[in-house]
Amino acid sequence: MSEQFEPVIVGFLCNWCSYRAADLAGTARIKYAPNMRPIRVMCSGRVDPQFVMKALREGADGVMIAGCHPGECHYVNGNIKAMRRFYLLKAMLKQLGVEEDRIQLVWASASEGILLAEKVDQMTEALRALGPLNWDEKVIHRNNGYKSAEALPVLEEA
């Protein structure tokens, strides 16, 4: 095997659209990068920005949040709330030195298995180009002079 960098993506998939899109991609035997590790949430609106931070800190090279298309949310507009948080979080991560492509928001309806698979492939390629995230080095040391991840004050899980 070549020594190609294999990024790890944590995917937060909403139960109603994008998780089912991923199910459909599998059922249709669409081949795509196995680099995304899905976590099911009921709605993309459940994705607390801290989940994203947590995943990046735990070693993910990127995070994908996937929900229903605007207007098609099972919970009326949870995806819109996810979108609002997403842009805020993205702006913040950018300031911390995390490249924009590392967090992505995707809309995939339950019938869009192909689209979801393509997005995972594209994101995997983009992360391959960027290389590993190295959170501790990139974010903690550079920004705050903190010595380790444990000392980072913003992250407080319940």
Binding site: G26, K31, N35, R40, D48, E58, G71, G78, E157
Partner: protein, 670 residues
């Protein structure tokens, strides 16, 4: 750090799924490895976990080894979560202490790379192991089903749903925004392929609706607000003022006769005919009471006239100019949406000339024209209402199968176009008929046979999409005609076909405002505006919102028999829920820790269901469990982190994140 302080006994079961999983994922290795993970008591792999033997394996281990948690790595939870939860329950373990890992749809089926698939399987299993430790036993929430049902839309689909439920003994509120039920089907002349008279088969059903003890018919009414959830919806309906008292009116129609003013009827007659200002859309309208068109009524505009009131023979007088809109509150358990379709506006395609060239008609205009009770008494005539056309062109796929307008096939147009061709043959036997189609789509019982019949009747079929309809003649034979410019793809030539009349077959489109309607009912609609069913194949009448069903063309283009099927199917689903009386709902709900709430109210506006109330006295927010649907948006938004989303708690999700990234630890925080 979310440490796994708890000591649990977890059973991990890795499924081969025949070879579906095992040919890509090294399931033995995953099971062996899983056995070494924290809290795991036993880990096994098995050919088919969902088989009764596989389930027994779980049950046995729960009983014998005293498992407190179960993880099953197999297919999607949407496939078998229920199966395994039930198995746990049988063995005495709370079903919510089970977690499913999807290593088939999300893993073995998407890659051929065995190493990567096995690594991914392990990470997903570890995510589940770490998550399940934090699971809490939960009880499903029982919800009682109110036996009343709301049906929105009184076309053939809604009528069918209403009658099926009413006949089964359940009460139905049928809400229709027009003055009469009947929908588009009431406008049609004949129905394909049997050529039954549409009104003859529809009106008896409409009368049944009016006379049924179990149906409350609310026409000239619209749904304004929907609150609640499966089993207990509260719906606010605006019953618009008719200015006719339904209690006194006998439907004699004298007021209509005496009304001195006429208006063009854009709705029922598709602009082809006129109606009075006080009117019934058509003679067999149900209910029979007329309605005053307030915007055009001279009395409402000038304060003079009142002819209808003067001539009304009832005692007391049925005309009531003071009548106001009435707001009704209906309590229902289920809702069936059968709001129908709009016809594509042919003016959007200027090269077809509709609206500019007089003798270009739309399908609905032609339907009214050939209808014996229509504006021309069933005579096929040009716009001058006198001359008979000697040649007619029918144009398929107007606004459908077209990248510029609607990509989808509107499904019914081929068949009704064939019907038009037949009707022209029947009424004007010597007319030349040209039928321009892209592909002839006639799947359906007796449909292909109908097409063959038309081929024998002598219709000229031209395979090609019409480029233009114009009155600009190039040769004397084209003078005074409409020229249909079309590429005949079967002979590979451009043709100019001069005709007297053109009938366009526009696409069925979602109703204007269907997006707003879908938001009102808190359900989804697709890009084209059609309502989205729960599953395109296996659940075509339910929606993603429990207790809300769809029927007819509001879900996608459909002909009459299909609308009837779906209307009946929706009714059967509702009847099933009503007869169960109580349904169990997943306990995935949010709750706010009352002592810790700071009363910031951020969550209040987050909730799409208004399920969070604020106690002014205590200055804390609280979730009304019965209204909560469990999306978790408030959980993510709470700045104090004191809203718990049951079964999707922060502990569970943070642990799962750590779990799926278990192999990254050494590489990162060295």
């Amino acid at each position: 750090m979310t440490e796994n302080k708890k000591q649990e006994k977890i059973g991990v079961y890795v499924c081969h799924c025949g070879t579906n999983i095992s040919k890509v994922v090294d399931v033995e290795d995953v099971a062996k490895w899983a056995g070494e993970q924290p809290n795991v008591e036993v880990a096994r792999d098995y050919k088919f976990m969902c088989s009764s033997l596989g389930q027994e394996l779980i049950e046995q281990d729960i009983k014998e080894k005293g498992l407190t948690r179960v993880v099953c790595a197999s297919c999607s939870p949407h496939m078998h979560e229920k199966t395994f939860r039930t198995a746990c329950e049988r063995a005495g373990l709370n079903p919510f202490l089970f977690e499913m890992t999807n290593i088939r749809e999300h893993d073995s089926w998407i890659t051929d790379d065995k190493v990567a698939a096995t690594v991914k399987a392990k990470s997903l299993v570890r995510g589940s192991i770490d998550r399940v430790v934090h699971h809490e036993p939960l009880d499903e929430i029982p919800v009682e089903i109110n036996p009343n049902t709301l049906v929105v839309g009184g076309g053939i689909a809604g009528i069918t749903s209403a009658l099926e439920l009413a006949d089964a003994g359940y009460h139905v509120y049928l809400v229709e925004r027009e003055p009469s039920i009947g929908g588009h089907m009431a406008q049609l002349d004949k129905t394909f392929p049997t050529l039954d008279c549409s009104a003859c088969i529809l009106t008896p059903k409409m009368v049944d609706v009016a006379q049924h003890d179990n149906i409350t018919l609310l026409t000239w009414s619209e749904v304004e607000k929907v609150d609640g959830f499966l089993g207990n919806f509260t719906v606010t309906v605006r019953k618009k003022a008719r200015f006719v008292n339904e209690e006194h009116c006998t439907g004699c129609g004298i007021c209509i006769e005496k009304c001195p003013f006429k208006e063009v009827d854009d709705v029922f007659e598709a602009g082809m005919g006129e109606r009075k200002v006080i009117y019934r859309p058509f003679p067999q309208a149900v209910p029979k009471y007329p309605v005053i068109d307030k915007d055009n009524c001279v009395y409402f505009k000038t304060g003079k006239c009142k002819a209808c009131e003067k001539f009304c023979p009832t005692e007391p007088n049925s005309i009531d100019f003071e009548q106001e809109d009435e707001m009704l509150q209906l309590d229902v358990g289920n809702i069936i949406l059968a709001t129908g379709y709009d016809l594509f506006d042919s003016k959007k395609i200027p090269q077809y000339g509709y609206g500019k060239l007089d003798n270009v008609f739309t399908s609905l205009e032609f339907e009214r024209m050939v209808n014996a009770s229509g504006p021309t008494d069933g005579k096929i005539v040009l716009r001058d209402k006198k001359s008979k056309p000697k040649s007619v062109a029918i144009v398929h796929c107007v606004g459908s199968r077209d990248e510029n307008y609607n990509k989808y096939c509107s499904k019914v147009c081929c068949m009704y176009s064939l019907k038009f061709a037949h009707l022209v043959h029947e009424r004007i036997p010597d007319a030349e008929i040209y039928d321009c189609y892209i592909d002839m789509r006639t799947p359906g019982k007796g449909y292909e046979e109908f097409y063959n019949r038309l081929l024998e009747e002598g219709t000229h079929f031209i395979r090609g999409k019409v480029a233009e309809i114009t009155d600009a003649a190039r040769i004397p034979a084209e003078e005074g005609k409409l020229i249909v410019q079309v590429e005949d793809t079967l002979i590979g030539k451009q043709r100019r076909v001069p005709v007297d009349m053109v009938i366009l077959s526009p696409a069925m489109e979602a109703r204007a405002g269907s997006k707003e309607v879908s938001q009102l009912f808190k359900m989804g609609c697709d890009f084209d505006g059609f309502f989205v069913e729960r599953h395109p194949k296996l659940d075509p009448v339910a929606t993603m919102t429990d207790g809300i069903f769809v029927a007819g063309a509001c879900q996608g283009p459909k002909d009459v028999p299909e609308s009837v099927v779906q209307g009946a199917a929706a009714a059967a689903r509702v009847a099933g829920l009503i007869s169960r009386g109580t349904v169990m709902m997943e306990p995935v709900r949010a709750s706010i820790e009352q002592d810790a709430c700071s009363g910031c109210r951020i969550c209040n506006n987050m909730c799409p269901y208004n399920a969070i109330i604020f106690h002014e006295d205590r200055e804390v927010s609280e979730v009304i469990t019965a209204l909560c649907q469990g999306c978790g948006t408030c959980v993510a938004a709470c700045p104090s982190g004191i809203i718990t989303g049951a079964h999707f708690t922060n502990d569970q999700l943070f642990s799962q994140i750590e779990g799926v990234l278990w192999d990254m630890k050494e590489t990162v925080s060295a």
